[in-house]
């Protein structure tokens, strides 16, 4: 008998009357890796003790917890050994993903509050060099920043916030796009971002949830 598509098998269902189950200390097993569709509600937010980000990288969602703060650099980790380092919401390093990046140099045309330090000053121009893994390459990227006032995209803020758009291009490899950064103009803290981190993967979407003691 011929079976021409693996999908046929994938579609198949299976049930089992298994071994005798014994009720015992049910709470000892904690499955926290299957939460692929995660809505951050007020209740969820209130149960968290540490700041966290909700990361959507196309293939699935995960929650990453704030691990360290070094100046304006925030390092976020999850149980899959994935790591994201953000500078005021801008991704400057990823590790543990299929394709990773590291910002190596950054020059900005702005004066005091420049993009390279994590600020989104309108009309500034930036040139960066980024190291991409898999395949390894150093690529120069140029970008310009524009910002505007918008409503908050998350549950946390109920006042007007700012949206910065970064039009970027890496001419050598003909890669261009727009990164978005939503931030609170009162304290410059990031709220949400949609950023491209690697030319071979989709943009990463991050929502930031800071918890203050």
């Amino acid at each position: 008998m011929s079976k021409i598509l693996p999908l046929i098998f994938i579609l198949s269902s299976c049930g089992a009357i298994g071994m005798q189950e014994l009720p015992i200390i049910a709470s000892q097993i904690y499955d926290f890796e299957k939460n692929n569709t995660l809505d951050v509600t007020k209740e969820f937010y209130n149960t968290k003790k540490f700041s966290f980000i909700k990361v959507n990288k196309g293939s699935g969602q995960s929650i990453m917890t704030l691990s360290t703060i070094e100046g304006n650099k925030y390092t976020w980790l999850n149980s899959l050994d994935e790591k994201i380092v953000t500078l005021n919401g801008r991704i400057i390093e990823t590790k543990g993903f299929e394709k990773n990046m590291l910002l190596t140099t950054c020059k900005s045309s702005s004066g005091l509050r420049d993009f390279c330090d994590g600020y989104y000053e309108d009309q500034s121009h930036v040139s960066q060099t980024v190291f991409f893994s898999n395949p390894k390459a150093l690529i120069d990227i140029n970008s310009s920043i524009q910002d505007e006032e918008v409503n908050s995209p998350t549950i946390i803020h109920n006042h007007k916030i700012k949206l910065a758009k970064e039009n970027f291009s890496a001419n050598l490899i003909n890669w261009k796009g727009v990164n978005y950064f939503w931030f609170d103009p009162n304290d410059d803290m990031p709220i949400k971002t949609i950023q491209y981190t690697h030319p071979m993967i989709e943009a990463i979407e991050i929502e930031f949830y800071f918890i203050y003691e």
């Binding site: 008998m1 011929s2 079976k3 021409i4 598509l5 693996p6 999908l7 046929i8 098998f9 994938i10 579609l11 198949s12 269902s13 299976c14 049930g15 089992a16 009357i17 298994g18 071994m19 005798q20 189950e21 014994l22 015992i24 200390i25 709470s27 000892q28 097993i29 904690y30 499955d31 926290f32 890796e33 149980s79 899959l80 299929e98 991409f132 395949p135 390894k136 390459a137 690529i139 050598l172 490899i173 003909n174 890669w175 030319p199 071979m200």
Partner: protein, 726 residues
Amino acid sequence: MLVKNKKFFIFFLSLLSNFANASLDDYLYKFNHLPSYSNYGTIGLIQMPTARMMPAGSLAFSWSHSDPYLTGSVLAYPFNWFEASYQYTDINNAFYSDVALYSGKQSYKDKGFDVKFNILKESPFIPETSVGIRDIAGTAVFGSEYIVFSKKIFSNLDLTFGLGWGNLNGNSINNPLEYLDKRFKARTLRDGGTQGGELSPKRYFTGSAGTFGGFEYIFKNLNGLRFKLEYDGTNYKTEGFPYGKESFNFAFEPVKQPKKDINVGFVYPLNEFVHLKLAYIKGNTLNFGFSVAGNLGLKSTKLVKANKPKRIIISDKVKEMNVDQDRLFKSALFALKEQDIYLQNASLEKNKLKVNIAQSTFQSYPRTIGRTASTLDAISPDNIDTFEISNENAGMQMYKASISRKSFQRYKDDNFYKLAAKDIDLSPSIYSTEDYQFNPEVSYPEAFWSISPDIRTQVGGPDGFLLGDLRLNLNAEIIFQKGFSFLARGSIGLYNGFKELNYNPSTVLPPVRTDSVLYLKNTRDYAITRFQANKFKKFSKNTFSKISFGVLEEMFGGYGGEFLYRPFNKNYAIGFELWHLKQRDVKKTFKFQDYEVVSGHLNMFFLEPRSQVLLALRGGRFLAKDSGINIDFSRRFKSGLRMGAFFALTDISKEEFGEGSFDKGFYFHIPLEIFLGNYSTRNYENGIRPITRDGAAILNNAQWLWGLTDRAQAVNFDRDWDDLYE
């Protein structure tokens, strides 16, 4: 002279340059790391082959329309130096036969096997070099041989030059091999008899030769778009049936002869795996097609990442409570079940915790050991220093792994699995309930069932190119007690596409397989595929047995059994099987026809551990009462993918066997976990036999001991120790 030298120097640098900037090139020329496929179906330019190869463990499918041919190709790469392909060509200028009542307007179908061997890898000064034979054992309609050289001049420009024989001698030149031996001067159609399907070594590389060549250019920053140009070396005066009826009785019109020798084409990669092809050949013919190719042999890091072991928290509290022995056993039962590992028995001997487990989730045996040990480590009180893990399958214990807890813990954080593996003592084992203090009651009979859709097909027959039906399969296994089970499989027809099916090949042997058409036609509504009782028993640490009774496959039922001696620390096994069988009625009910046979084989297996190449020999009496040997080579890859090929030689003549001369084919088993995203031991199994005949037919034995006892040999652990802590 100076200018010439300068040019040469620049050319020399360019040869080296494609090694220096390889990674940036991956961004500039997307999807450039894999070769593309020709219209003919193998890796190549437009019509011509190149010397390029896919990595070992790759599978590919290519389809193209190149008037008057529709070609479908299945390709396998068991080694990075070997391409094996099966070509199926619909030849639209000829009928299937010259008897209209038999084939109607069905076009002629040609099947052929091709091989290509990579004999030199590319280096800065040496081109990649391959030798290939098209239609190696077929009708020689497309028969040709070639040696081909490919060299990357820049990272996006790949040049190819080749020398061809047979249908690749379009611009006829003297055969250079004549200087070695005069026998290369003249070419015969094929060696041997009239049944086809045989190798023709005397034909290969004979007759006049011809040259061909071209290049493949990848456009910068155009998503991997490739342009191809070639000088076509095909001899269209000999390929296929060029002059219609003059060339072949069944042909009704000639093939368009070329106006030009230059072909041009484009390949556009949709993604890493799928390429679209468009070409203009012969100066008068537009071609199109696609190919799908990928390496399925690699370990999936995505799968590992998405299926990490479930963590056990509050471990210290659990350990404190589990000082109580009974609580420890029950805790192990529960905690292991969360990891899809089922505790069968457990025992505590001083500081050693012994568990006997069963699992059907993980292909990797070290992963099973690692997850079991990690779980036991998380819940066991600190005084326990050794875990002894036994694993059973079909009620028979397969292995015993004795693990030092301290060593397992020491290397875990750094994932030093090689050091940890050195401290794991593997040995064969045999089951006895008396060995265990904790024997959880299992409520027998235990039943497992599944429902799955199924498509049955018949490809390339005279009644239609593709006929098939859609069915619903019902699978059930009931375990009455350890080692005693009942296996049933039935199916219900949902859509019947076999109405047109009339083909019934003639045979001089008992129709043990050629009658499969009758079985397909008569089981439109429902069919019982299997209905068998199995008893498994282990006589000693290295010997396994099985006896079965009932409906044993689609066409045969009866009784019989198997015996396998599989020494744990060796890489070979020997066994035998003996069956008394009756042929089932064509409606696949519980009735039988008159034909009966005693079929049996002596089975020998030898695994070469480094390459994971398995040689399986099965000698004995086959279903049609012919005697001989089935020789099977296969290679297993890290992902669990297996590719294999077989042939069988028995005491019947080529004429008795019929078309194809002898039984042969290739097959592949693809682990479904690659597509599912979760660990699974299920495989998608398929194979290609050029033609179904009755000679060398073997019972399609379910739960074959060789497969069932795979984990009962230490050599099958060595390939997967890197999974220990995953």
